[in-house]
Symmetry: C2
Subunit: 247 residues, 2 copies
């Protein structure tokens, strides 16, 4: 232990871990997800393949770690955009987070695509870095919606309008979140979430390029449609446009 509380060894190890993830990301961006192999990553940084097993248990774990990085980076971008808005303006904060989500996605297509259409369907252990990072991501929306609900309730369907089967499923989820939103509010949230996230999903998976080459106005229209459901005023983006990324 040094004065920093971390041994030199540990520091070197962390640096190597970071280098591995950076190399994996570089390969993903430059050559696609298929190119992210243990051997290729090792080669990229002048190591032998098996050496990587000292840092990751296997290919899946490496993929999971990199995916978690992306999730965290996306989450951070959204938090930054959100926090650029005044604390009380939940509507503006929500819209900013949504736009930041797409902005990051578009400037990091390879990364975003990987997070979704992940080659890894396995893992899914609820305590894996990937799942934890995913939860943080989800939390951004959940928290802001909860604040919004507390400060100025948005319209919700009448209890009898909500099919029982949906209500039961939402009940379990609402309880697990701990933000104390009523089932009807969660339902509205999920409706919006499905539309926004689904659109992004389709964009990234190139399911819409037979019609649209520029999805940005389509996304904005989606926001415009969603906003009133949450009792928000749709506001055109005022801040700077998406930062041009490398992918």
């Amino acid at each position: 232990m040094t004065a920093q509380g971390v041994s030199r060894r540990e520091r070197v190890r962390q640096a190597t871990l970071a280098e591995i993830r950076a190399a994996a990301r570089r390969l993903l961006i430059e050559q696609g997800s298929q190119a992210v192999t243990i051997n290729a990553v090792a080669r990229e940084m002048g190591m032998s393949g098996p050496a990587l097993y000292h840092y990751f248990a296997g290919h899946d774990e490496l993929v999971g770690a990199v995916t978690a990085d992306f999730f965290r980076e996306l989450t951070e971008a959204m938090e930054t955009a959100r926090d650029a808005c005044p604390p009380g303006e939940h509507g503006a904060r929500l819209l900013a987070a949504c736009r930041a989500m797409r902005s990051w996605s578009v400037s990091h297509r390879a990364e975003f695509g990987w997070v979704f259409a992940s080659p890894i369907t396995a893992e899914r252990r609820p305590d894996s870095p990937r799942e934890l990072a995913g939860r943080d991501f989800e939390q951004i929306f959940l928290e802001e919606i909860a604040e919004l609900w507390k400060s100025r309730r948005f319209p919700v369907p009448a209890p009898e309008e909500l099919p029982a089967s949906i209500r039961e499923q939402l009940r379990a989820y609402a309880d697990s979140t701990g933000v104390g939103l009523p089932v009807e509010a969660i339902h509205v949230f999920m409706s919006c979430w499905i539309r926004l996230y689904g659109l992004l999903c389709m964009e990234v998976l190139n399911q819409l390029d037979f019609v649209y080459s520029d999805m940005e106005p389509v996304f904005e229209e989606c926001l415009r449609e969603i906003a009133p459901k949450l009792g928000l005023d749709y506001e055109t983006e005022t801040t700077a446009k998406a930062v041009p990324g490398r992918s």
Copy 2:
């Protein structure tokens, strides 16, 4: 040439091709997409790996052929459901096709998942079997919407409500379809399509299982919301439920 106009050789070849695709599909269903390798497929049917190269140029082409099969099967299921409704009732026909789409997807999860989050991002040659089959699929909706539009117009946004950037993109697509729908109608169609298909996309990619375990009522609610946009009455499903599939 025989009386049938097809040589025995050709018949045997077609039978082998069918067997290969069936074996590939079996592997996909039973062991996941990763198990669909040239070698494994060949082994599955008692052949050596390289023999398959007499039937498919490589792994990608095999994947593309199987994917096209799935697309065609899905399309057929939708057409059958649609044609079980009277020719004039475009609303009922459309709903039937939508439900058949989900019904097939749910009872053929592995296949549907493969069509979307296809490991093959390459290919994409516009004349590949996969793309052609995809176009037939798209055509089902397009045709029915066109009929609907002809028989009983649905409400469309006023020209000035449609952002110019979206309008231009839709213009190009509308011209390419040849069904003669005005841009505004195509826009409504796409809005509905994005919501429905996006929902299915998310379901298959397990992006919603943190909340929903049974998506069927969520899908129905989506239909209920979409129906009035096309000037349709939402009707509860009357025919038999989804046929239990093997996957």
